[in-house]
């Protein structure tokens, strides 16, 4: 497959790995922001190819992992109503809320549907006028065009039975939160390529300047990640701290302005709670006033409840790069992909699950 196979070529990846090894003079801690990058790193065993000096830590860039417990509880409540068809991306269905998860709602008779795109949820709403169809609109900036389009089309089609439970988060405020923590150990970032495809790279310039940290916008294939690390290490070794774009084939500096236009129409910026981390100012999107009638929280008149998170679970720290999954005493013991305690053990892109599935510590 074009734009995939050539980026998985063993010779090319080895060359980059060797170049990194030649470049590096001392230990560096680099965070790949995006869960998709984490997934590639473990799936392709990239850490194996890197010199010991490079430590990769896994960032908060997985929407499945950062959606707060109370939002999952709201999804469970709505999905339990008998007149609701609840649509969700597949991997959101196994995320634990405070007491249950969506697959258990389905096992008790709820009508849950895993969809590939929110646009299919709109089609399901049009085909089932006697039902309320709700889409669980989680995601980072990358998913916002699709979710915005779904709401836009539903309004255009006059659908009265479609709504979205929005839990949208934004990457730059989360990076800022990590950098401003007194415990921060991250020295360089691989920024999330697909997020930048939509929003562009400008938001990162002030971060790089303020915190004097190199930020390389990076793709998702092994070669992308190795090149991103190479570029990041080169800056670290040089002492420079600028925004670079490894993922030029997909990312324009201005991002996708058409998508940004619709996002601006449909959403507005709000403070947002992140699972395991807490509330970060201006770090999320909610529906704009113009589209607020599509808000499932309003339609189902859900009460706000303060829900407690699992105290044993270190996922918040893992998401901020402060801990590695293996540091967690529950990891692989009471917490496994079949029975996850934290969201990071659920998603294929969650740091704990990725480590568990592809864990190299068991490989001799």
């Amino acid at each position: 497959m074009k734009y995939i196979d050539e980026y998985r070529d063993p010779q090319s990846t080895r060359k980059y790995a060797e170049a990194i090894a030649q470049l590096v003079t001392r230990p560096w801690t680099i965070m790949e922001v995006c869960g998709g990058q984490t997934h590639s790193i473990v799936r392709f065993g990239i850490q194996d190819l890197l010199p010991d000096e490079i430590e990769l830590v896994h960032g908060p860039g997985c929407p499945v992992c950062v959606t707060p417990v109370d939002m999952v509880d709201k999804a469970i409540e709505i999905a339990s109503y008998s007149d609701v068809i609840f649509c969700s991306f597949g991997d959101m269905m196994r995320v634990p809320g405070s007491k249950s998860d969506l697959t258990r709602v389905r096992a008790r008779g709820g009508d849950l549907r895993a969809v590939y795109t929110p646009l299919d949820a709109v089609k399901i709403a049009a085909a089932n006028p006697q039902k309320q169809v709700v889409f669980f609109a989680v995601g980072f900036e990358t998913t916002a065009p699709a979710n915005a389009m779904a709401v836009y089309l539903a309004k255009k089609q006059g659908l009265k039975n479609f709504s979205v439970l929005v839990s949208h988060v934004l990457v730059p405020p989360a990076m800022k939160a990590i950098l401003s923590s007194p415990d921060n150990t991250v020295q360089g970032f691989l920024a999330a390529g697909h997020v930048c495809t939509v929003m562009g790279t400008h938001a990162y310039t002030s971060l790089a300047d303020t915190y004097h940290v190199p930020i390389v916008v990076t793709g998702f294939e092994p070669l992308d990640i190795l090149q991103g690390i190479y570029m990041c290490v080169r800056q670290l070794e040089d002492g420079s701290a600028t925004v670079e774009n490894q993922y030029e084939r997909a990312v324009q500096d201005d991002g996708n302005t058409q998508a940004q236009d619709l996002i601006e129409k449909v959403f507005r910026v709000i403070p947002r709670k992140w699972r395991g981390i807490g509330t970060i100012p201006e770090s999320g999107w909610a529906l704009s006033d113009e589209y607020s009638s599509f808000d499932a929280q309003q339609r189902f008149k859900l009460a706000e409840a303060a829900t407690e998170e699992h105290t044993e679970c270190l996922s918040g720290k893992v998401l901020q790069g402060l801990k590695k999954p293996a540091d967690c005493p529950a990891f692989g013991v009471t917490c496994t992909p079949e029975n996850p305690l934290g969201a990071t053990m659920v998603s294929g892109e969650g740091a704990c699950a990725a480590y568990y599935r592809y864990r190299k510590e068991r490989v001799v």
Partner: protein
Amino acid sequence: MNRADSFGGSCPVPLGDQPCIKLAHGGGGRLMQQLIEEVFIAAFDNAVLRGGHDGAILDLQNGRTVVTTDSFVVRPLFFPGGDIGTLAINGTVNDLAMCGAKPLFLTSSFILEEGLEIETLWRVVQSMRKAADAAGVLIVTGDTKVVERGHGDGIYINTTGIGCVDHSLFVSPPRIATGDTILVSGDIGRHGMAVMGTREGLAFTTQIESDCAPLWSTVEALLEAGLEIHCLRDATRGGLCSVLNELAQDASLQFDVVENDVPVMPNVRGACEVLGLDVLQVACEGRFVAILPKNESVLALEILKAQNEFAAMIGHVSSAQAGLVTLQTPIGSQRILDMPAGELLPRIC
């Protein structure tokens, strides 16, 4: 804990903290494995069952007779490349073949949902007849139940197969040995993607055809060539990944597999990339893994390729760590290939 000790007591709430059966318990992964071990094997405990193979080799008066059973619950009933009827015959025929047994007789038992159209049943039954003829088996007895609307899914079928072993090999996991070669009989993942492609919200414009097929003739060809087959196993629910893990565990050996050597069709691969699925976990219904001594692997591959040009050697057996399966990634690194967790959900964000 040995569940067999607790007969008559209350259920010790096995399987973590999950008081309910979920789809994942039938997904071919670890949860299902736990369910079988902690509930069924614990309760039914006997030497034949503990043999742990897909079929039971029975000590009848003379010779070796093999029996195996499977229920078929596929949705939709008809999918590109087959239907529940073909599946019900081939699935059981293949389980016999995997024991090295020539399939002879099948039983078939139907659970029909009130409201099913007889025309539909007729088509399925015709498929079964055709598949049975193709596999050279007789359906010798059967049963029919009808359940109320809303308590079935049109048609469920159980087939139980009886076959005979007319050679002296014991084809089973304990025979696997260090140095053995691991082969796969064709390209993988087509059945699972064919079925997924029929679901609302997950459909593609292009269709993938199921790989559903009977495997005895291929196995027979291997046997007739005089090959010393150590083990055979068809890759069904849980895909190749599940089979490799099960066999490595049962054999207490390490399997080392090369990802780039695993044959996958471009349409299957593309659909898996789009839905975020690992093709190694996607079900087949006409593919198997064969494990035999390295010095026989070239001949074996030749025989497999005569039936399916995509058959391939994908790895070998070592003794490093019992029960471990490793995967050499496309970029040349090595990682663990773990048992799938359960239900295969599209991973989109």
